[in-house]
């Protein structure tokens, strides 16, 4: 399935082959079906958005992608291989990082420590080495600190590096969370409503960061977002969901002209 060579975006970026493919996914909670027979893919280097009205199953979908929920039916292929049901931390080790709709930072730690937790999957020095802070542990600490510092620099949060996360305002917390996800140098980055609750200025900043991340590191990004304008500006391809079903899939302009989408989503938001 990974034989095609992708496509060229409207702004001229080259998008690669399929990174992740969701095939006929169905997810139920007890008697409730949250996702019904959904198929879509995410390609190397693209920004892929999942949109839909409230309760459409977007978050559940993202949780399936991130491996937090295991669907009852359907298959997930990651980088060409079928993914067995994995523990969440095993998924993280495959190179999938994410942010959360309601910020899930570690409130008792500083910004730097939070970002450093993004590197935990790469740190594996032994107990003795850590206990003595010598040898591999110290080397690892410094090497990973360097990587984190680059992310901190990239997201322009240098001045709060040592501030406890609990003291930060909402917008900055969102940025720190993005930093934590980026620190793991993910192959696929999932953003769950990265701009929820932000003012226009903060949204602009965040959009710029998302584009910069995609541009600078070539990171593949899948995101859920409410703000249609933002989604249309940011993303290369959009999946539209409604009541757990996929009702549209394509470039922003295609989706915008799709009658089913207009009815379900835009119609709802404009009545």
């Amino acid at each position: 399935m990974n034989t095609d060579d992708g496509y060229i975006t409207e702004d001229g970026r080259k998008i690669g082959g399929v990174v992740m493919e969701m095939k006929n996914i169905t997810l139920r909670f007890g008697g409730v079906t949250a996702i019904k027979d959904i198929t879509f893919d995410i390609r190397e280097g693209e920004i892929r958005a999942i949109i839909g009205p409230n309760g459409a199953g977007k978050s559940s979908m993202l949780n399936v992608v991130s491996g937090f929920y295991v669907p009852q039916e359907g298959e997930v292929f990651f980088r060409g291989e079928k993914r067995p049901p994995l523990k969440p931390f095993e998924v993280a080790r495959q190179g999938i990082a994410r942010t959360f709709q309601n910020i899930a930072l570690f409130e008792g730690m500083s910004v730097l420590d939070n970002v450093m937790t993004g590197r935990l999957t790469q740190m594996n020095s032994g107990f003795i080495s850590q206990a003595l802070w010598r040898g591999k542990a110290e080397r690892e600490e410094i090497e990973n600190r360097e990587i984190c510092e680059r992310v901190i620099d990239f997201l322009e949060i240098q001045s709060i590096r040592k501030t406890p996360v609990s003291r930060l305002p909402y917008g900055l917390k969102k940025r720190v969370e993005l930093a934590r996800a980026l620190a793991s140098e993910p192959k696929l980055l999932l953003l769950d409503e990265p701009m929820a609750g932000m003012n226009v200025e903060e949204k602009e900043d965040m959009s710029r960061f998302i584009l910069d991340v995609n541009d600078e590191f070539g990171t593949t990004i899948a995101l859920i977002e409410h703000d249609m304008g933002v989604v249309m500006d940011l993303s290369d391809r959009v999946v539209v969901m409604d009541y757990g079903k996929k009702i549209g899939d394509g470039t922003p302009s295609e989706v915008r002209n799709n009658q089913a989408v207009i009815d379900a989503y835009l119609g709802v938001s404009h009545d």
């Binding site: 909670f29 949780n63 937090f68 959360f100 709709q101 899930a104």
Partner: protein, 328 residues
């Protein structure tokens, strides 16, 4: 070994009786937990404190006598009166209500919205404080408590069983009375919760704080009420255990026994507390009877905990709890 089986039956019945008392203490936990999310470690000490107060009031002890004597050099001990049980009980209930009010007012009002584990640790602090306070007020020596409950072997059961099994079961009258009282108490609590305005408010709070607030239920009032009821339940438990084995520090440890009961039954379920109490009561008596001798005895000390621990590993929500769905 029919003999063994008969002994086991006797143990079983005794276990049931003990289990009722565990359930009674556990009930106090459930009440407070449901209404306020506080896991009240101090429940056992409340029982001890209630029993001590009851004895102290009935015997006419001067509160803080030791302290007064130490500070002022006086030698006061007793007022010199003996009060009937019902006066003592009423006085003690009043004391427990005041205590409930103070606890809510001074401690938990300031801890609203904290994590459960913080609340839990606060109740440990409360337990320590009340233990010190009880000893300070009434002295730490073992006291006899007699409110007129029947005690001793129930001859009728002894005789009947002797006739049937050729072996007379030893079942204490007190245990029977305790069971009856406990059952009555549980029943009336259920009725209270179902049919009175306060009870409905209490259940509303337990279901959803915010919603209850929005329909005009005073959380503060409910919490004080719940602590008061829990205090009353503690008093009843205190009377039972106190009558049985004297009012002393070990009484507060019984409360610890109620913890595994809760873990089995779930923290929010009144039937769960009762069933859990019975399981633990019977289980630990039977285990001690059957396995105890092989491994050194005194297994009641830990049996309940290990049982609860094992259960939780396989069913983290307890027997009656609902499955927890984690969300992100």
């Amino acid at each position: 070994m029919p003999d063994q089986l008969i002994y086991a039956m006797e143990v079983f019945f005794n276990g049931l009786m003990a289990g009722v008392l565990y359930a009674l203490v556990a009930l106090g936990f459930v009440l407070i937990y449901k209404a306020s999310g506080i896991f009240n470690y101090a429940q056992g000490v409340m029982a001890l404190f209630a029993a001590m107060t009851l004895v102290g009031v009935m015997e006419g002890q001067v509160p803080f006598a030791h302290l007064i004597n130490a500070v002022l050099g006086t030698k006061v001990h007793h007022f010199g009166w003996h009060l009937p049980a019902f006066v003592g009980i009423i006085t003690t209930v009043i004391v427990m209500v005041i205590l409930a009010w103070l606890v809510q007012r001074i401690i938990f009002k300031h801890l609203v919205g904290q994590e459960p584990i913080i609340l839990f640790m606060a109740t440990i602090g409360l337990a320590y404080f009340m233990e010190g306070l009880g000893d300070m007020m009434w002295g730490s020596e073992i006291k006899k408590l007699d409110v007129g409950l029947p005690q001793g072997i129930n001859l009728w059961i002894d005789e009947t069983t002797y006739n049937i099994f050729d072996y007379g079961f030893f079942i204490d009258n007190l245990d029977i009375v305790a069971t009856i009282i406990a059952v009555t108490l549980v029943a009336s609590l259920v009725i209270f919760a179902q049919y009175t305005k306060e009870g409905r408010a209490m259940r509303a709070v337990a279901d959803d704080h915010q919603a209850a607030l929005s329909v005009g239920v005073s959380l503060n009032f409910i919490w004080i009420m719940v602590w008061s009821v829990a205090g009353f339940v503690a008093l009843v438990a205190g009377i039972m255990w106190g009558t049985k084995s004297g009012v002393q520090f070990s009484l507060s440890l019984i409360a610890l026994k109620a913890l595994p009961v809760l873990m089995l039954g779930g923290f929010t379920s009144i039937p769960g507390a009762i069933v859990g109490g019975l399981i633990i009561g019977v289980g630990e008596k039977l285990f001690e009877f059957l396995i105890g001798p092989l491994i050194g005895g005194a297994t009641e000390n830990w049996f309940a905990y290990v049982l609860a621990l094992l259960l939780l590993v396989f069913r983290p929500q307890g027997l009656f709890g609902e499955k927890i769905i984690e969300r992100v």
